[in-house]
């Protein structure tokens, strides 16, 4: 017993010291930090959590302190101590029933208020229909004048104008996913057959990381996304660019390469490579799953109309550069476990052609 007492204090001291050091020195700038709110919704959520968190810390200090006092003060000094036998104390018990109840009631009031606050949706806000897929996010931007019509579709990386509330409606085509951009707003499920509504807002321009937060199968960890908050001008420019049709391959202007003769042997220029790539896209099976406006309308994989306008791909786990694309096209499931996109056994020529083509889709 005595030993354990010594042990207790000799261990606790360094432990506490160590923890303080760790807390002071090692916390890095986490890029999905819920405590660093960058928008009104996340701030509202933190304004509830943080005070209650400190109240909880206070209660813990009280409980832990009382236990500590007991251990120090009421430690058996001899084997034969005869403590007073207290069977209970009605008043004390009533007190520590009622006091927590009052405390909880006082946090219940703002909680209920905030629940309803979070269910208020701005009128005439930009509305983005976000659809969860295994394992990437599809974003359908609705027309400003009609939220029932899709203006354009993108994936993985969504843009929003800064300081403006944007409505995100959520659904899924397969399993349940969970849309979460911690610095902007708390998470909400994307459930097949249901349509949930979430408001996000960013205070400052920048890139905000997010990811799927509900286990959705093999590559759940690889279902990330980015929200890019633009200035209004940047955002308008981005929308215009996205609304534009896909860049057409230059084949029609080139007399010696037509869409029906893909095997070009002349020194391939970027343009002709891209044109061949467009054919590969159609013939190798890509078009069955991926949509490119004017070329194909597959809905299984991400819409690639403006693929190169995005900085990341494959659920935001890879930078959108040639090297990563090459690895990806060679064998998607090897890059992203369980990937729905199969290995199409493309030749390296075909891959280069596809990369050249994708490079035009800006």
């Amino acid at each position: 017993m005595r030993n354990s007492g010594k042990l207790r204090w000799t261990l606790k001291g360094p432990l506490a010291l160590g923890l303080v050091l760790l807390l002071g020195g090692c916390v890095k700038n986490a890029s999905q930090d819920t405590l660093k709110a960058h928008g009104s919704i996340a701030r509202l959520q933190n304004s509830l959590f943080i005070p209650v968190f400190w109240i909880a810390v206070g209660v813990f200090v009280l409980v832990g302190g009382l236990v500590g006092v007991c251990i120090v003060k009421f430690r058996a000094r001899s084997e034969d101590e005869a403590p007073r036998q207290i069977h209970g104390h009605t008043k004390a018990e009533i007190a520590w029933t009622i006091m927590p109840a009052i405390l909880l009631a006082s946090i219940a009031i703002p909680t209920v208020k905030f629940v309803f606050d979070l269910n208020k949706f701005p009128k005439n806000a930009i509305t983005v229909n976000v659809v969860g897929h295994r394992w990437w996010w599809q974003m359908d931007y609705t027309k400003p004048d009609d939220v029932n019509q899709t203006d354009f579709t993108t994936a993985t990386e969504m843009h929003i104008p800064v300081k403006q509330q944007v409505i995100v409606t959520l659904t899924s085509v397969d399993v349940i996913h969970n849309f979460w951009v911690p610095e902007l707003a708390g998470k909400l499920y994307a459930i097949p057959g249901r349509h949930n509504k979430l408001v996000i807002e960013a205070d400052t321009p920048g890139t905000y990381y997010g990811q799927c937060a509900e286990y959705c199968g093999t590559s759940h960890s690889n279902m990330r996304l980015r929200v890019i908050a633009d200035t209004p001008d940047q955002y308008a420019a981005w929308v215009t660019a996205q609304e534009a049709p896909a860049a057409q391959p230059v084949v029609s202007t080139s007399p010696d390469t037509t869409t029906t003769t893909p095997g070009v042997t002349a020194a391939p220029t970027e343009a002709s490579l891209a044109a061949t790539g467009a054919n590969v896209f159609k013939s190798a099976g890509c078009a069955g799953c991926h949509a490119i406006s004017g070329i194909s309308d597959g809905v299984v994989g991400p819409n690639l109309t403006h693929f190169k306008s995005r900085s990341v791909f494959a659920g935001a786990i890879f930078q959108n550069d040639d090297n990563n694309l090459r690895l990806w096209l060679a064998n998607p499931p090897a890059q992203k476990p369980g990937s729905v996109m199969p290995n199409l056994h493309l030749t390296s020529d075909q891959i280069n052609q596809l990369i050249a083509y994708l490079d035009t889709l800006r």
């Binding site: 890095k28 209650v52 403590p83 397969d174």
Partner: protein
């Protein structure tokens, strides 16, 4: 299937006409009668042996679940870990959760209830000893069944919560793991329901004379509440699992969005089970702690009635909070508000318990033994878990914390810092009762401190990780998230826990067997189980005690003076010494239920049926295997019903038939007579037949 295949309780009664049997022998299996050796353990119906088997099996699964935990921590120690593949990781975290909930904390709690409730309430056995054995074997087989999935194409990988449609539509998850998960949990559900009915009936019906409900030891009380919750919660998940099974095996549409099915129904059913389940996991540990604290504080439990009623309140309120697992589902504001508030207020009875425990410590004379250290550790760690639980009740902000490591931290503080600390304390506390030897205290304290430090290092940082945006159930995370440091700390902590467990195992298996034997009452304890030798004789009590007060045994040793101070009674030493010799007098026969093969046969049939269902998934003809399994179980049930619970003494008069013979076909009934000849010397009449039984034989 889960429910209907349970043996009707009435089938467990003795056979009235056993005397009529001819020496032709039993139709299936000869009645076992050895009291030692391997087969005696296989066929035992002794609640103490079964309690030890439950706990030991649960401990073995705890080590498996612990290995899985270490794999998880190794994988996550650094960003972009490569120890496991994505699919392997998903299997491991699913099995870790499923194991720890269904194969560790639940059965270990049931194991303790099995061992202790009859001892604490002054009974000779549980109400249905063979049903008890059936529950145990089905639990063991169910666990083995689940783990056998690793050999047959991959373990379950849909998470312990198995959200539909991920689990319900074949093809979303690789492998056949979800089938194993569904049928494994169905088997375990039957096992726990049968076990729970047994403990409920035992506690309500078999208390010693004088032991009113409010004189019943607190552990028995908390077990009773937990088992009530099991009785009512298990059918809900049984239905949910059946719906998934019909979706997977027979193309039903319950969770198929393409046919209009709603995946949220699964969540409602699962958490309607799942939240009471949380209290099934924590209430027994609360009871254990409430037994340990008074003994080592040398004070009665502060506010015993309040402790009982807060437990009951938790049991009821536990049914009204399940939506707090679903705050991110997108339910309407009214539902979310209501469940936020109900979740906050379930903290009230929990808080009352914490303050009452402190009240128990306050003014006491604290002996900081290993059980006491774990009990105090429980109070502090559980408080952290409870308080982070309150932050989860803030539904608007919980949208940030839910599905992150903050939740992982929260429920590990509740289930490890709470339930497991309580269970460890209970192991140290009751080990001398069960095995007659004290676990080594020095190693025990090392175990505690390593666990305490390792636990906090492992799970403390998870609060930070969650708040810094680390979602749950991810097999990898990118360096750009800057989560590496705290993950590494957490992994180091996990290995400290591993070392602490090795110390514990070394203590139990190497050091303690060589330590001297202890008396019946080594801790100077309070409840009836300490009034009989360590380990207790098969019949527990030579004479069923008459109870006069709460902590009856304590009041035989102590009284209070006018100021309420503790005073030893003059016969203090005599009472303690007599506990060691509290055995049946020579010549006194106490008839105990006889061992039986049929519980294990019945549970085996159900496992065969479960394998058949999995094989049927690939080829419909394989469902015949299930039919065979069901027939084995039904046959076992009939044989079980025909076999008397306890072998009669040879000259037993058959006209005095038992009251509750089973619905059994007469053609199988010619077995009793031989079995009577085989009856072990002490076996004949049921527990509770003391002197009368003796005169009869």
């Amino acid at each position: 299937m889960a429910i209907v295949l349970e043996p009707p309780p009435s089938t467990t009664a003795p056979d009235a006409d056993k005397h009529a049997g001819t020496p032709a022998g039993t139709p299936f299996l000869r009645r076992p009668h050895s009291s030692e050796g391997f087969w005696s353990w296989v066929t035992t119906v002794d609640h103490k042996r079964l309690g030890i088997m439950y706990t030991a099996t649960g401990f073995a699964f705890f080590l498996l679940g612990g290995i899985e935990a270490l794999l998880i921590r190794l994988q996550l120690a650094r960003p972009n870990g490569h120890i496991l593949s994505a699919n392997q990781y998903n299997q491991v975290f699913t099995m870790h959760g499923t194991t720890m909930v269904f194969l560790v904390i639940m059965p270990v709690s049931v194991g303790f209830a099995n061992y202790l409730v009859p001892l604490q309430i002054g009974a000779r056995d549980v109400a249905f000893p063979r049903l008890n054995a059936f529950s145990y074997w089905l639990f063991l087989f169910g666990g083995i069944f689940l783990y056998s999935s690793f050999l047959f194409g991959g373990a379950p990988n849909g998470g312990w919560f198995g959200y539909a449609p991920n689990t319900s539509i074949p093809g979303y998850l690789p492998g056949r793991g979800s089938d194993f998960w569904v049928f494994g949990l169905l088997l375990l559900g039957i096992a726990s329901t049968a076990g729970a009915v047994n403990i409920v009936v035992t506690t309500l019906n078999m208390r010693a004379p004088g032991m009113t409900l409010l004189k019943m030891p607190i552990f028995s009380w908390m077990s009773l509440i937990a088992q009530f919750l099991t009785v009512f919660a298990m059918p809900v998940i049984t239905v949910a699992l059946f719906l998934v099974m019909f979706d997977r095996n027979f193309g039903a549409n319950f969770f198929n969005p393409a046919a209009g099915g709603d995946p949220v129904l699964w969540q409602n059913l699962f958490w309607l089970f799942g939240h009471p389940e949380v209290y099934i996991l924590i209430l027994p540990a609360m009871g254990m702690v409430s037994e340990v604290l008074p003994v080592f504080a040398r004070k009665p439990l502060f506010g015993y009635p309040v402790m009982v009623f807060s437990g009951i309140a938790i049991g009821f309120m536990g049914w009204g909070v399940w939506i707090h697992h679903m705050f991110a589902v997108g339910l309407g504001p009214v539902a979310v508000s209501a469940f936020s508030v109900s979740t906050m207020f379930i903290a009230v009875p929990t808080g009352v318990k914490i303050f009452n425990w402190i009240g128990t410590l306050w003014g006491g004379s604290l002996r900081l033994t290993t059980p006491m250290l774990f009990a105090i550790g429980f109070i502090v760690m559980f408080t952290i878990g409870g308080l982070s639980g309150v932050t989860h009740s803030l539904s608007p902000s919980d949208r940030q914390q839910t599905d992150t490591y903050y939740v992982v931290a929260h429920f590990h503080y509740v289930l490890f810092g709470g339930s497991m600390f309580g269970i460890f304390g209970a192991i140290y506390y009751w080990f001398p009762k069960a095995f007659g030897r004290m676990l080594n205290e020095k190693l025990g304290k090392i175990h505690f401190w390593l666990t305490f430090i390792g636990f906090n290092l492992t799970f403390g940082p998870m609060h930070i990780l969650g708040l810094q945006g680390m979602p749950r159930r991810i097999y990898t995370y990118d360096k750009s998230l800057h989560l590496g440091f705290w993950n590494m700390v957490s992994t180091v902590g996990a290995f400290i826990i591993m070392v602490s467990l090795l110390v514990c195992i070394y203590n139990i298996f190497v050091v303690t067997p060589r330590s001297p034997r202890v008396s019946a009452d080594p801790w100077d304890a309070r409840t009836l189980e300490w009034s009989i030798p360590s380990p207790p004789p098969e019949y527990n009590f030579a004479e069923i005690p008459t109870v006069h007060s709460l902590d009856d045994y304590w009041h035989r040793k102590y009284t209070e003076d006018d100021e309420g101070r503790l005073v030893r009674l003059p016969n203090y030493e005599a009472v303690r010494a007599s506990s060691d010799t509290n055995v049946a007098a020579p010549g006194q026969h106490i008839h105990m239920p006889s061992p039986s093969y049929f519980p294990i046969v019945c549970s085996f049939g159900l496992v065969v049926a479960a394998y058949g269902m999995i094989m049927g998934h690939t080829n419909g003809a394989n469902y015949l295997v299930s039919v065979v399994g069901i027939l084995i179980t039904i046959g076992g049930l009939y044989a079980w019903g025909l076999e008397p619970s306890a072998e009669p003494p040879e000259e037993h008069d058959g006209e005095h038939g038992g009251e509750n013979a089973p619905p059994q076909p007469a053609h199988l009934g010619a077995s009793g007579g031989t079995m009577a000849l085989d009856a072990p010397s002490t076996a004949a009449l049921p527990p509770g037949e003391t002197h009368e039984g003796g005169t009869e034989s």
